[in-house]
Structure formats: C-alpha cells, structure tokens
C-alpha cells in the first residue's frame, strides 16, 4: 500500500487544478508499478496503490480518489474480490468512479456492476491497459460520470446470431450507433467517432429505438443499461 499526500488539504482551488487522482488495486507487482508509471506519464496522479481489496477499502476514504482501478481477481480467493470491492466503494463512497479490469469480460459481472447505478462505472479487459491513450480516455470518461463498457463484450452481444429479432431490421449505421451507445458513449462522442453530425446521430437513435420498441432515455446512463439489457436477452 503506498500513498501520496491528498491535495484536498491544499484547498479546493488546488484540487480543481490538480490532475485526476487515481488509486490502483492490482496484486501483480510488476503490472501495478507499470500502471503507476504509464498513468503518471499520461498526466494522471496515482494517489495510492493496493495489493488486495482490503487495502483498497482502507485507501479510498483516506485518499478520496476520483477514480479507482480494480483488478477483478485479487487475493485471497482470486475470484471476484475486485468486483465486490467496487460495489462496496459505490455504496459507501458514492461519487467515486470505478473501473473494474478483468481478463475475461463476462456480462454476468457487468450487470452486477451496473445494476445499481451505471454512472461512473467501467468494466474493461485487462489488456486494454497497453493502449495508454484508450485507457486514460476510459479513466477520464468514468471520472466525468460516463459508463465505459469494453468494446469486445459489446461486439459479442451485437453480432451474436438471432432469430426473428427487430435487431435484424437495423441498418449498418444504426447498428454502429447502437454498439457505441452500449459502450457508454455520449451522442457527442458517437458523432465524432462515426463522422456524423450530432443531429444525424439523434435521428439514428430515434429510429432504432422505435424499431426496437425501446423507450427513449434522456440520460446516457439509463440508455446504456436499456441497450445492454436488450442486447443480452
């Protein structure tokens, strides 16, 4: 367990200027230290690191991080300690964003994690850490209250074969928009990624929601859950 001073002590002005504060919980030392280095290089502040869930639950109230990165499997049982810790952090310190990383992204875990409130929650494959730009983007997104769902699990859900599903009536563009919504992207981000105007994105969303008989959701985080639930059934 390692700790750097809390800028909150320096007052709100200093905190506002400060970089995003991240706590890393990962039991593999080399990976933990590697992460600390690349995140620091990317302009984030690694406020502390933990080797297991118990240490993590001590660090969060002491350091008030903006974002917690937690490996799903940690000692002692190496099963879903990171997931359970994430749920507890959300219960006890709401507003703390959490990204759970796993070597096997499973929708069962995803739904457990998103069920209460998907705002500021991420669930991504562990190997994403090697793509620093993408990974720091995910950290900034959850810190801003977005949901981040690994593209691999979304594409598995979008491309799985179906019979007699309204999904088969969606155009290629509508499917692309749907997948990005399921990844937790905002309309603005979808527009940027698909080279469309925000207006066009809205039109696509309106059309696909009516094709799928889904009620349009104003807030992105409700939309994520609605879309994922639809795709999973």
């Amino acid at each position: 367990m390692s700790v750097t001073p809390d800028p909150e002590a320096a007052g709100p002005a200093a905190r506002a200027r400060a970089a995003l504060r991240v706590v890393i919980a990962e039991d593999a030392v080399l990976l933990r230290e590697g992460l600390r280095r690349v995140l620091t290089d990317a302009g984030l502040e690694v406020a502390g690191t933990a080797g297991d869930a118990a240490q993590l639950l001590h660090l969060v109230p002491a350091l008030h991080p903006d974002v917690v990165l937690a490996d799903i499997r940690m000692p002692p049982t190496q099963t879903t300690e990171g997931l359970q810790a994430a749920l507890e952090i959300r219960r006890r310190w709401p507003g703390t964003a959490v990204i759970v990383v796993s070597q096997h992204v499973e929708t069962e875990h995803l739904f457990e994690l998103l069920a209460d409130d998907p705002r500021g929650i991420g669930y991504v494959l562990k190997e994403r850490v090697a793509d620093i730009a993408q990974f720091t983007d995910a950290i900034r997104r959850v810190a801003a209250g977005e949901s981040v769902i690994d593209p691999e699990v979304v594409s598995r859900l979008v491309t799985r074969p179906r019979r007699d599903s309204p999904l088969q009536t969606l155009t290629e563009r509508e499917l692309a928009v749907l997948a990005l919504m399921a990844e937790g992207r905002s309309n603005h981000a979808i527009a940027g990624q698909l080279y469309m105007s925000p207006k066009t994105v809205e039109t696509h969303i309106g059309n696909l929601f009516s094709k799928l008989a889904l009620l349009p959701a104003a807030e992105d985080h409700r939309r994520v859950l609605a879309v994922l639930t639809y795709l999973r059934r």
Binding site: A28, L30, L31, G34, L35, R37, V38, D41, R73, Q78, T79, T80, Q103, H104, E106, T107, E108, H109, K126, E127, V129, A130, D131, I132, R156, L157, R160, P161, R162, R163, R232
Partner: protein
Amino acid sequence: MLLAGPALFVISTVRARTAGGALGAAIVDLEPGAAPGRLRDALARALGDSTLQLAFRQPDGMGYLDTAGQIIEVAQPDPGRAVMPVAGSDEAVLVYDEGLKLEPQLIRLTAAAASMALEHTRLQAEVQAQLEQVRASRERIVEAGDAERRRLERDLHDGAQQRLVTLSLALTMARHQAASADPELGSLIESASKEAREALTELRELARGIHPAVLTETGLTGAIQALVERSPVATTIIAVPDGRFPTAIEATAYFVVSEALANVAKHAMASGAEVTIRKRPGRLVVEVSDDGAGGARTEKGSGLRGLADRVASAGGVLRVDSPPGSGTRLEADIPCP
C-alpha cells in the same frame, strides 16, 4: 413347536421329490438379495419344519446367530435338534428337527438350496459393491479432472496471461520512448506489441475452454449466459435456476450445454437452439434442443458418447432424441440434492 417324531415316518420318497420341487420353487420365488429371514421362511415351508433355523457364523468367528437374532449352539445342539452345514462351509448352518434325519436326501437338498440362494445373494452384494466402487472411482476421476482444469486455468491467469499483460504494457512504454528517436524501432516494437495482444486473445480463449472462470465465480446463470452469447447458432435460454449447486454438478451441467451447443453448431444445420435447466426434487434436468437435421448418434467415439459418460459419472442419465429431419433434443437428468 416340534413336529411329533412319528409323523415324519409318513414322509416318503415321493414326498422328498415333491419337497425338492417346492424347494426349487421357493428359491426361484425369492427376489434377488432377499433377507436371510425370507430364505429361512421359504425353506421351512418347503421342508415342512416350522422350527427350521438358518444361522450364520458371527463376523468375529465366535458362535452363530439365527435369522431371528438368537444365539445358536452349533457344536452342541439342543436335544431333539440336528445341525447341517450349508454347502460344506461353516459360514452358515441349518438347525432342524432331529426327526428329519430320516430324510437325509431332503435335508441335503434343503442345504444345497440354501447354499445356492446364499451364494446368489453374496455374489449380488459383491457385484453391487464392485459397481459402487467403480462408480465412486469414476466420480473421483472426473472430479480430479475438473479440479485439474480449474488449477490450469488459474495458473494460466496468474502466470502467462498476467505476464503478457505486463509485457504489453512494457512494450507500450518502450514504443513511446523509441518513437521519436527511432521511428523504425518504434514500428518494430509496435508489431511485437500486436503479437503480444494476439497471444493474449488466444490464451484467453484457451483458458476459457479449459475451465470458464465465470462458472466458479457466478455458477450456472452466468456461465450458461456466456455460452449462449458465444454460440454461433441463435440460442435462447428458456430457464436456468438461480443459486449454487455442488461444484461437480454445476460442471457436468455446464459441459452438457457446452458440448450440446458445439454439436448444434457443427452438425445440426439448425437455425436455432434452446437451453432449459430446471431444478426438480432430487435432480437437475438439463435440456438442449435444436430445430436442425436430427439423426444424432451416441455411438462409441462420438462427442455425445463422451457426454453420456460424463453424465453417468455424476450418477445421471443422458437421453438423446434425434429423429432424422426433426431436430435433436438432448436431456441430462443429474441427481442433485
């Protein structure tokens, strides 16, 4: 009650022959593995000696107990009683009315019949015990295999997969440092990075094939959902019970669905499949059906044969209903507390 001595004089050879037939009938009528008390009753009826006792040597070798739990003095029988060992061994004896000594053939016949019946019961118990041993050892072998798979998966996760993630991260850092100074080196590192990512993807699928971590972590609901999401044929979950079951049962149910869906994808030419798992009193019933070509066979060497063996190892039964042209329905009935 003792039979009056003189009454026995009227037993003729004819009677002996009739009694012999009655003895045979008595033994045939006894259901396999009948209690020794039933055998005694049958013998007593056939012999016409209601006082007949069938006694067994006690396991400690000290004395004999009859089927009513009475201690019998075999070395010095009570007055008016005679003793005949059953089939040459001293494991079991018949104690009968001394008057019957006048009918030695009848007594020998009775002892022989008793011997056959007891031997039959003993052999049956032996076969039963051997079957039970084989069943238990098969269960242990399968459980050891499952445990080994879980260990392998965990070793891959904590070892090779973890190292490859760390390697990928290190390569990323190296690329960032090299990129500006030496673009050629940068692109070389980039291709190494790509290799590492592909190795990770392959390893992830390998580990999941060996043993899905989600089965250990969430039980059947999450694991079956994961199978259905990956099935190349449109597959619907009709029901999967919540809650956890013993590890071996969860693993068997999982492999049934996994193998069945793999078969559907490979052979069935189906447009859809359904998975239903229901908890019934004392058992778990796993059903996978498809609308494909049917005609699936469970002969030796097929995947279904292996699956039937796997289900049998858990004490269950696999039924395959696959008429040509009408789809395949596979049902595993697994004992489950």
